[in-house]
Structures are given as structure tokens and as C-alpha cells.
């Protein structure tokens, strides 16, 4: 069947079987391999994408259900110049990346949280990451990266709140 949707801010149209997952559609049809396959039962979050701005496990989303909707994958997250955005830079700076397999999902989980909450506590960040497994980092530096980004973004948007 023909599936029309917005992928990383661009309209796309693809002819695909109706019974495949969004994960398979992204990886096999669009060759967007930043979305990872690691459990296929919705437990690990490695296949996380943003669907209309909400974090979802793409292995649990039927491909046809994205018809007319907005899908953002890790390939759609970057600064205007195509380089890393502030959150991605903070992942690098804080040492949040080890093997890297969970990292696309973690970046998207961070973006999903920051889009609805500008000043999350560390516990709220942990809650937002609870569906994304990481076996390497113990999560500390991932939380650091999201917390640092939240603070910097809040300061950028509300410079008057700055306390010196």
C-alpha cells in the first residue's frame, strides 16, 4: 500500500506491505539505519523515533499508521548547519556515549522530554529515559547531558532569569 507521511520534515511517499513495522520501513526502505533494532518487543527503546513529537518504539508501530503524520528519526536531529545540535554536543562533552547503540534513542528521548518540559529535574529526566535501555553508561552522563542542555536552552529563552 502507499504510505504518505512527513519524514524528517520532508513529505515522502512509499509503497510498502501493510504488515511491516515503522522500524522495518525506516531501516529497509529509507535506509535510515540510525534507528536501531535490538529487541523488537518494545522493551529497549533503541528503535525510538518521534511520532508527531512523541517518543515511540518504532518496532511497535505499524507502518501504515504513520499515514499523514510526522516522523522524526535521529537523522532528522541536527543543528542548522547539519552538525550536532546542543543536546548532541552535550552528549559528546559529558561522555554520555560509549558503544553508541542506544544513543540515537537516548537523544530522541531527551528531545521529546525537552519539548514538553524546559526545566526537568534529574529524576524527571530519569523517568523520561526509563523506556530506553543502556548497558554501557549507567545513565549518569546521559542525564548530565540532558540536564545541561535544558539549563542552557532555558537560559537562552529566558535570559532575564539568569542569576550571576
Amino acid at each position: 500500500m502507499l504510505i504518505n507521511f512527513n519524514l524528517n520534515h520532508k513529505p515522502v511517499s512509499v509503497d510498502a506491505p501493510a504488515d511491516i513495522t515503522l522500524l522495518a520501513l525506516l531501516r529497509d526502505r529509507f535506509k535510515l539505519t540510525g534507528t536501531k533494532e535490538a529487541c523488537e518487543v518494545g522493551e529497549c527503546g533503541a528503535c525510538s523515533v518521534l511520532l508527531d513529537g512523541e517518543l515511540v518504539n518504532s518496532c511497535l508501530v505499524a507502518a501504515p499508521s504513520v499515514m499523514g503524520r510526522n516522523v522524526v528519526t535521529i537523522e532528522g536531529i541536527h543543528a542548522e548547519d547539519g552538525g550536532p545540535n546542543d543536546l548532541q554536543r552535550n552528549f559528546i562533552e559529558k561522555g554520555a556515549v560509549q558503544c553508541g547503540f542506544c544513543i540515537p534513542g537516548m537523544v530522541l528521548a531527551g528531545e521529546a522530554l525537552l519539548s514538553i518540559k524546559s526545566d526537568p529535574s534529574r529524576l524527571e529526566i530519569r523517568e523520561a529515559l526509563a523506556g530506553n535501555l543502556c548497558r554501557c553508561t549507567g545513565y549518569m552522563q546521559i542525564v548530565d547531558a540532558i540536564e545541561t542542555t535544558a539549563k542552557a536552552r532555558a537560559e537562552k529563552h529566558h535570559p532575564e532569569k539568569r542569576e550571576d
Binding site: E40, E75, K94, F101, P104, M140, I142
Partner: protein, 778 residues
């Protein structure tokens, strides 16, 4: 070590940018034109004879291009080190559920699976042994290979440490304790499952991109089983999505299967595993049953230790001879004893199989001995910190193995620092006065460790690096050791940048490749920083010497008159000359702009019969404190805080070192509280993350880490190791905290709800159904 510019300073991980952008290509992300997809037929029985194996029906399935079995290899595909008991694909028998029997390559993954289902494979069930205590019964079915030394074929080995006679010494001690401790199997749970991609070469060889730890091992194995010379087999390690000791044997089998299929089909072949296939087929941390006797005097002096244990290697020996040996060396903990003996026996069973996993034997024994140490402190009515401080190893001590510790023993500092950071003394007092009727109770516990650096007395221990300045002045490095997520490539970069006096951005570290790198032994045993790091240091020193000659020539002075400011070279004229100009000048002088660095570890030795010697050339030390809140109504344990202080010699890449520390603690927390890859009659009871639980961001506490830098003189800038030891003391620290909170001790890991609340486990009845289904679905 004055004025280090890069080493020890915050740095950016060299491969992080591609990873945060989603650009990194793991094996499963790679695709080659004409590539076929492979799938293995795997055993559904824990022990069986292969009566009939007919692959011809598979070849009739549309889309199937090639099928291989053990007949397609030399010597039936036999391999394995140190005991060659494995096959690339099963030969005559299968010994565990999930063992590969045949492998199919097809145009699509679906066709490969149809091919697998079409294979006629008749298995005749054989009696099996699942309990390690019965593996050596005279009538136990034979699992291990035939042997001629009179030992039971299910016997892998005996691993002793002998100092004096603790049995006698225990009689003299004021206080003795004796307890049994038990650990269960743990799944590595690397997020990237196993995978390999083989590409046939025009000259009849094969290139394999393999998610693995040590590329030279599969290169050599492939030469052996495919009958190819070393120049025809090339193994490249692409980015690896985590390993933790877990990407050895099974991945070598994967390499063998895709390589044989690619040669047969004359097309590229890729195999990747589903999570279920990964958990069912892969090796685990082995389980251990320990019996520990300790003796001490009333003044708190620890005097004797008698440690006996059985270790279950499952269906294959894999790394268990080495795991068991490392376990024996560390079994008594980081303490002084007048008399101490350790006896570990390792056996085959049909319960999956055990291999390397972070900590490699020490994680297992530390969970026993560090609880026993606490139980002894309790018996002596001594504070566990005071008891450890009184007896722990210091510079000048002789270990129970007979090794004089002459330097780099930072354990006392680690314990003192973690005691202060955790506010131990106040909390210990406060928690002692909790109401006995409170449903939620807090507790705090400590565990200490030592961990031998690198391979130990198992053989030659050396590594080689190469370094080269290319025509565009890009500097490239190779190492035969792999960065499977650890940060090793960043460590090499910082060491080379420090010695060459150039910015780290100028340096590119290649992926390990058997065609361009030098065999440096296996990437295991937390040996990469010290072995590969030292080899990079030597290579960079060999290279910089040539640039120093060129600089002196350019600046018209003696070498000793040249100094560096930033990247620039400055001579007596005080006029800075850029690094690029000096490199160009060196080139014009005809000097070589590449170098080779080999580093061989200090000599050590071990007498396997007498159980004495110098097992490791250096040791990591550390101590961790866990604070828990236990809900006595549900048995739920919340780890509220963890403090960890480790002596790693020297921090080279700070974010990387903390990342290793935090990550190791997360493995240890899972091991302590819920990870249990339980097998019932040979069938894994958890085969995905819905039932095999690993810690989430909500399970992990905020961790406060710290480092002690008791430099090791032969380490690169004094560095030792961190990767494995970071997880070793976490589980016993948590168990000691639970005992502190509840007054009850749980001597079998993990301390799950049932064990905490009821003090026993609930009976589980496993079904082979889920394993069988999972091996035959897309």
C-alpha cells in the same frame, strides 16, 4: 608527571560525533550489493546425537543459495582455545539448546528461515546433566571431549592457590565462620546483538566484518577451519555495540558460518541475530557455588581462609579455564592471611555455556568473599570498614600467592575516601537505631576489591601499535586491540597527542583490521589501556625522535636545545616553527614518518600445581559503598546511593574513566538485585528484555565516583585498569547493605523480591516451548 596537556584532561570521545548523529554503521547497518542473508538451524535439545542431517531440501527452497554444515570445514570445523572442544557448526552431537547445526544463506531473511525449516535434522536425545554437583558422577553422561589422563570427561580443571595450612590455623583462631555462597548466570545484554558480514575476495579468500572483541582469534580460526592461508583471511572490526566479554566464541562461529557461506555462494553474506537467538545461543557468566571458611582473632586480625568452589562452564569450556584461574587468584579478597588455600573445580554440564564476562571470575568470588568478610566483622562486633582497613593489602605486603607488592597499592586510600564520601560512620549509627517494626528499612554496606591487570600468568602478554604521518600530515594509529565501546581509541589518541605534542584532532585511530594492525593478543582482561596504551606510547616516542632530529636540523641547533610551545618547535632563536613545517622538513631529510611500538608486560609466573607465584604484574584496587532502602512488605530493594572510589593508577580520559565506573556499577547492580539467566533442564527461562531485566535509568541511583591515582611505574603515565573492576564490588556492597538493613543475609544472588521478603525462592517451572518457537521465527 608535570604539565600534562591532554592526558588526564577532559576530552571528546573520538567516535562520539558519528554516534550522536546516528551515522555509525554497525554490522547490521551494513549492506553490500548482492548480499545474502544467513540464518542458523539451532539445536532444540540440550544434549543429543545428530542422527540425520539432510540439507538438500533447503536448497530447493526458493531464494536459498547455499547451506553449510560441519562437513564444509576442515577437521569438522573444530576450534577453541585453550581447549579445542567447539565447532563452527555442531559435529555428531549437540550439547546445549541453541547450538548451531547448519547455516543457510538466501536472498531474503525470510527465505533463509524457510531454508532452515526445510533442513531434515533428526536428533536422538541423550541423557543430560544440568546440576554441576552431579557433572562428575561416575554415571554422568559424557559432555566434554574424550581424555586420556584418567579424569572424568566432564572435568575441565582444578585451580588452586596454596599458602600454609588454613585447616590447622582455623583451630587456633578466636573466631571462625563458615558459609556457602552462590551465584547464578548473567547475560551480557549488549544492545547490539551478534553479527558478521563476509565478502569473498577475487583471489579466493574472504573479508569478514565481525562484531567481536579480538579480530586475530577469528582470523586464525578461519584459516584453520577453511584451510586458507593468513593472507587470504581478513577480519575487520567495525564499531561494536557493546560486548562486556560477550563477543568471543559465538561470534567466531558466526564468522566461520558467514565466511563458508560467502565462499560457497561467491556472494557477500550477512548474519545478524534476533534478541531471542542471541540470548539462547550465547554464552553467559557462569554460576558458582562457594564454601568459605575464615578465621580471625578477637583483635580483628584476619588469619586464615579456606575457599572451595565449583564452577559450571556448561556445554563448552570457552574461557572457563582462564575465568576459573582468575577466580582462584582473587577468591580470598584483597587481604593478608597467615594461611590461605583456594580450590576451584570446573566442570561441563548441559546448561547453556559459560564464557567471559566483565570481571571474569572475580565478580563471582568477590560476591562471596566480601560477604564473608562482613560476616566475620559482625562476628567480631567490628565495623566492616575498620575490619577491612586493619587487614587489607598495603605496599610491602606479601599476598597469599607469595607476591611482594612493591608499589601502586591504593586500597587503604580508597576505603578511607569512600568512608568519608558516604558519611559511613553517621549513617551506620543512624540505621542501627531504626525501629525494628519499620516496614521500610535503610542499610549501608561496603565491599572492597583487588583485580589483577591484564592476562596474568597465562602466556605472552604484549601489544603492538603503529603510527604514521601521511602526506597531508594526518596522523593515523593502528592497534590490534578493539574499542567495543570502552573508549580505548580515545585513550590511544590522548597518549599519542601528549607524546607527539599535537592536537588530538590530528589523530585518526583505525578500526582493528588483521591486514593493517599487528596481533596484540585478545581484547580482554581490562588490558587495553595498559598494553595498547603503552604500545602507542612507544610508537609515538619512536616517531617523535625523528621529528626532534628534523627540528634540530631546521633550527640549526642540538636536539636538547629544542623545546615545544603548543604544537610549535622553538630553538635558540626563540622563533616558533610550526609542526607542519618540521614534518615537511623531516620528509625532505628522508626521515621515516612512521613507527612501530611494541610493549611487553613485566615477566610473571604461576605454578599451577603448587598454587604459588606472581599471578599479575599489577593490581587495581577499589571500594564501593551502597545505601539501600528495603521494603519488608514487598521485598523490593531500592539502591538509594552508591559511592565508588577506585585506584586506577592514573586517569587518562576522565569522562571515559567515569563512564566505565558508572557502567560497571550498573552491571553489578543488576547482578546483585535481579539478573538471573535461569535455565530449567537446559532451556533459558528468559529470552528477551521483557523478562530478563537489566537496570533502567530509574533503577540506577546517582553515583558519586572518585579515583585514587597510586601510579604504576610501568603503566602509560602510571595508568592501570578500570573496565572490569568497576562492577566487581557492587553486588556484595548491596548485599551487605541489605543485611545491614534487614538483619538477614541473602547468600545466593540475586537478592530479588522473593529472596529478600521470604528468604527463599519460589519454584519455577520452565517450558522449552518459548526457546523452540524463538529459534524459528523472523
Amino acid at each position: 608527571m608535570a604539565n600534562l596537556k591532554y592526558v588526564g584532561h577532559p576530552a571528546q570521545r573520538v567516535d562520539a560525533l558519528d554516534k550522536v548523529m546516528g551515522k555509525t554503521k554497525y554490522v547490521g547497518d551494513m549492506s553490500i550489493p548482492g548480499m545474502l542473508y544467513a540464518r542458523s538451524l539451532r539445536s532444540e535439545l540440550p544434549h543429543a546425537r545428530i542422527v540425520k542431517l539432510d540439507v538438500s531440501p533447503a536448497l530447493k527452497v526458493p531464494g536459498v543459495v547455499a547451506v553449510v554444515t560441519s562437513d564444509d570445514f576442515m577437521n569438522h570445523s573444530n576450534f577453541g582455545f585453550p581447549i579445542s572442544d567447539m565447532y563452527m557448526l555442531a559435529y555428531e552431537k549437540v550439547r546445549y539448546v541453541g547450538e548451531g547445526i547448519a547455516s543457510v544463506a538466501a536472498e531474503t531473511p525470510e527465505a533463509a528461515l524457510e531454508g532452515v525449516k526445510a533442513i531434515i535434522c533428526e536428533l536422538e536425545p541423550l541423557p543430560a546433566v544440568f546440576d554441576m554437583a552431579h557433572a562428575l558422577d561416575p554415571d554422568a553422561p559424557q559432555i566434554g571431549p574424550n581424555r586420556t589422563d584418567g579424569n572424568h570427561p566432564n572435568y575441565i580443571g582444578h585451580y588452586p592457590v596454596y599458602k600454609g595450612n588454613p585447616t590447622e590455623k582455623l583451630q587456633e583462631c578466636d573466631v571462625t565462620i563458615e558459609q556457602k555462597y552462590e551465584t547464578v548466570m548473567q547475560e551480557h545484554a549488549y544492545l547490539e546483538t551478534e553479527g558478521g558480514l563476509a565478502i569473498p575476495t577475487p583471489e579466493g579468500g574472504v573479508v569478514v566484518y565481525l562484531s567481536c572483541q579480538s579480530p586475530f582469534i577469528p582470523r586464525n580460526d578461519l584459516c584453520k577451519v577453511l584451510g586458507l592461508s593468513a593472507d587470504r583471511v581478513r577480519v575487520i572490526v567495525p564499531p561494536v555495540g557493546g560486548s562486556f566479554g560477550g563477543k568471543d566464541d559465538l561470534n567466531y562461529q558466526t564468522a566461520g558460518q558467514v565466511a563458508a557461506l560467502a565462499l560457497k555462494a561467491k556472494r557477500p553474506v550477512r548474519m545478524t541475530f534476533s534478541r531471542e537467538e542471541s540470548i539462547i545461543a550465547s554464552y553467559k557468566r557462569g554460576s558458582m557455588r562457594m564454601n568459605i571458611k575464615l578465621g580471625a582473632d578477637q583483635d580483628g586480625t584476619l588469619r586464615a581462609c579456606e575457599f572451595r568452589s565449583l564452577y559450571d562452564s556448561g556445554a563448552y569450556s570457552s574461557q572457563s579455564p582462564f575465568t576459573s584461574w582468575r577466580a582462584s587468584i582473587h577468591a580470598m579478597g584483597a587481604y593478608r592471611y597467615e594461611d590461605c588455600t583456594v580450590d576451584i573445580d570446573t566442570v561441563y554440564t548441559n546448561t547453556g555455556y559459560a564464557g567471559a564476562y566483565r570481571g571474569f571470575g572475580n565478580t563471582e568470588v568477590c560476591s562471596g568473599i566480601e560477604q564473608a568478610i562482613d560476616e566475620m566483622a559482625d562476628a567480631l562486633k567490628m565495623d566492616p570498614m575498620d575490619f577491612r582497613l586493619k587487614n587489607c593489602l598495603k605496599v610491602g605486603d606479601v599476598t597469599p600467592h607469595g607476591q611482594l607488592l612493591s608499589e601502586s597499592v591504593g586500597l587503604t586510600d580508597c576505603i578511607l575516601k569512600v568512608r568519608k564520601m558516604s558519611d559511613w560512620d553517621r549513617k551506620r549509627k543512624e540505621f542501627a537505631s531504626q525501629s525494628p517494626s519499620a516496614e521500610k528499612r535503610r542499610g549501608i554496606g561496603v565491599a572492597a576489591l583487588f583485580h589483577g591487570t591484564s592476562l596474568g600468568a597465562e602466556g605472552l602478554d604484549e601489544a603492538t601499535a603503529t603510527i604514521e604521518i601521511h602526506s597531508d600530515n594526518q596522523v593515523t594509529l593502528t592497534s590490534g586491540l578493539t574499542d567495543y565501546g570502552t573508549g580505548a581509541r580515545t585513550v590511544y589518541t590522548l597518549i599519542a597527542a601528549e607524546i607527539l605534542g599535537i592536537k588530538p584532532e590530528r589523530i585518526l585511530v583505525h578500526n582493528p583490521d588483521t591486514n593493517t594492525a599487528k596481533d596484540s593478543g585478545p581484547t580482554v582482561a581490562s588490558r587495553t589501556t595498559i598494553l595498547a596504551g603503552n604500545s602507542v606510547r612507544v610508537a609515538a616516542q619512536n616517531l617523535i625522535q625523528n621529528l626532534d632530529w628534523a627540528a634540530a636540523d631546521f633550527l640549526k641547533c642540538d636536539v636538547y636545545q629544542v623545546h615545544r610551545v603548543g604544537e610549535d618547535y622553538i630553538g635558540p632563536s626563540e622563533e616558533p616553527v610550526s609542526w607542519d613545517i618540521i614534518v615537511k622538513h623531516a620528509r625532505e631529510m628522508g626521515l621515516v614518518l612512521s613507527a612501530f611500538g611494541r610493549w611487553t608486560a613485566p615477566e610473571i609466573h604461576w605454578d599451577e600445581e603448587k598454587g604459588t607465584g606472581i599471578p599479575y604484574f599489577a593490581y587495581h584496587f577499589g571500594a564501593q559503598v551502597a545505601e539501600v532502602e528495603v521494603d519488608l512488605k514487598t521485598g523490593h530493594t531500592d539502591v538509594v546511593n552508591i559511592w565508588a572510589v577506585h585506584d586506577i593508577g592514573k586517569v587518562i580520559f576522565p569522562q571515559g574513566a567515569y563512564g566505565q565506573l558508572y557502567g560497571g556499577i550498573s552491571h553489578g547492580l543488576g547482578y546483585g538485585l535481579y539478573e538471573d539467566l535461569d535455565y530449567q533442564n537446559g532451556y533459558a527461562q528468559s529470552i528477551n528484555f521483557d523478562t530478563y531485566l537489566i537496570p533502567t535509568s530509574m533503577d540506577m541511583p546517582e553515583i558519586k565516583g572518585g579515583f585514587v591515582e597510586a601510579a604504576f611505574s610501568a603503566g602509560p603515565f602510571g595508568a592501570k585498569n578500570i573496565a572490569e573492576p568497576s562492577m566487581v564490588p557492587t553486588a556484595p556492597a548491596i548485599l551487605n547493605a541489605i543485611a545491614n538493613a534487614t538483619g538477614r543475609r541473602i547468600r545466593k544472588l540475586p537478592a530479588n523480591l522473593e529472596r529478600v521478603m521470604l528468604g527463599k525462592e519460589l519454584t519455577k517451572k520452565g517450558s522449552p516451548f518459548s526457546c523452540k518457537v524463538a529459534l524459528k521465527i523472523t
